[in-house]
């Protein structure tokens, strides 16, 4: 998908295969409900993510729903503290779509509040999970490339 302006979907999200497996496992563990979690990483002076994922935090879906998710606020508090204690910050959130594609739903777009964040979706619709990530700004969705790394 073409980004609406240069740099909109930059930088590439760099995710280790170990973190990828943590994310996907948490999504399967959450079935039949949607599962969710947070991503942390280094940010620049303006608070924009540099693209590296340095920690993943599986969280409780406070909605306990197959259709919606809300990250449990206490999990959010603890993840934010952990990231900020390292001079980093939260850079995004992931959640699963149990029976639909790895693309933000209308609800996802409407409720995406953080323009600098990465919104990752894991689709469990098929036998193999599919993870894709996006920036969502003022209702505009742009895909953000995910690069899986060894370390």
């Amino acid at each position: 998908m073409a980004a609406p302006d240069a740099g909109f979907a930059d930088p590439v999200l760099r995710l280790s295969t170990a973190y990828y497996r943590t994310i996907v496992a948490h999504c399967y563990d959450g079935l039949p409900d949607e599962a969710c979690g947070l991503l942390a990483g280094p940010v620049d002076a303006d608070g924009h993510p540099k693209g590296l994922v340095s920690a993943v935090y599986p969280c409780v879906n406070a909605d306990a729903s197959a259709r919606t998710y809300t990250v449990e606020s206490r999990d959010l508090l603890h993840a934010m503290r952990d990231a900020q204690s390292r001079g980093e910050d939260l850079i995004g959130v992931w959640h699963s779509h149990t029976h639909s594609d790895a693309y933000p739903s209308d609800t996802d777009v409407r409720q995406a509040l953080e323009p600098s964040w990465v919104y990752a979706l894991v689709s469990l619709k098929h036998a193999e999970p599919v993870l894709r990530s996006y920036r969502i700004r003022e209702g505009v969705v742009a895909e953000c490339e995910v690069s899986l790394t060894d370390s």
Partner: protein
């Protein structure tokens, strides 16, 4: 009472881009009203038209969700940390 208020990324443009601000008050509500006086852009983001905590915001006093304390009437003391957390949600 001087307390530290941690501001989420979303609201930082309203407070000059910083992650933490200090403010005064005897309750969470006092602190928020003082903050809104200082940073008017926060007005509609913290407290709704009925004077209640905005439903898309969670606030913790140190380790406690103020919804399970006394809401905006929750007392604060010197050195407390208030963390403002956006609702992270979707479908």
């Amino acid at each position: 009472m001087s307390v530290e208020v941690r501001v989420p990324t979303l609201l930082r443009p309203h407070v000059g881009g910083v992650a933490t601000v200090s403010s005064d008050g005897a309750t969470v509500g006092d602190v928020f009203h003082a903050l809104i006086g200082q940073f008017p852009g926060l007005a509609g983001n913290l407290i709704d038209d009925d004077g209640q905590l905005h439903k898309f915001v969670n606030v913790y006093r140190n380790d406690d969700d103020i919804r399970y304390l006394e809401g905006l009437d929750t007392k604060v003391t010197d050195g407390d940390v208030l963390s403002i957390l956006p609702a992270v949600a979707g479908g």
